[in-house]
């Protein structure tokens, strides 16, 4: 899984019907110090994440298993809202 912060969302009225009712969020990957690191990704939300929240997401075929057994066309799904990132020694 990958750590990131929700920085926005994507609205599509015309879309695959299975995506109805599911939020499509823009997520910025973070490094251990919480700084942006790498390119933003577009992820389907499965836990009620909102803008500004730190989350982690799952990639690949497994990302659709958040709605198993429904087949959902996603390869990037937010699966947790992070309360705390504990990195002893700061790893600066």
């Amino acid at each position: 899984m990958y750590l990131g912060k929700v920085i926005g969302n994507v609205v599509c009225t015309m879309k695959n019907p299975v995506l109805d009712g599911k939020k499509i969020l823009v997520v910025q990957p973070l490094d251990p110090q919480g700084r942006p690191a790498g390119k933003p990704v577009i992820a389907l939300d499965s836990v009620g994440a909102g803008a500004g929240e730190t989350v982690y997401w799952c990639r690949g075929r497994e990302a659709s298993f958040a709605w198993y057994p429904t087949e959902v066309p996603t390869e990037t799904t937010i699966v947790a809202i992070v309360d705390r990132v504990h990195v002893p020694g700061g790893k600066a």
Binding site: M1, C58, E62, F65, A66, Y68, A80, K91
Partner: protein, 92 residues
């Protein structure tokens, strides 16, 4: 699979049920010379690894799910071993 070092842990109460009851380890992948290799990742812990330990991480969903025996779940990485030594044979 990849070799990594556990640099921390991530806590999340709001998450997919299949992630319950498992530590979420923050792992920095390592090159063979021990230097950092790419961005850190998050993996569910299947062997009770702790911070600063060198670990073996499987980065494919089906294997990760099997390692934490949570089939059909949105899990794409798991720590499946704690590494004691890595032995490289010279001019092999």
């Amino acid at each position: 699979m990849l070799i990594g070092r556990v640099i921390g842990e991530v806590w999340a109460t709001q998450k997919q049920p299949s992630h319950e009851g498992r530590k979420v380890l923050y792992v920095q992948p390592l090159a063979l010379d021990g230097s950092d290799r790419g961005q850190p990742i998050l993996a569910l812990d299947a062997v009770d690894a702790g911070v600063s330990e060198r670990v073996l991480v499987v980065t494919e969903g089906f294997s990760a799910m099997t390692a934490v025996d949570r089939p059909n779940s949105p899990i794409d990485m798991a720590v499946i071993g704690i590494i004691d030594t890595v032995e490289l044979v010279k001019d092999a």
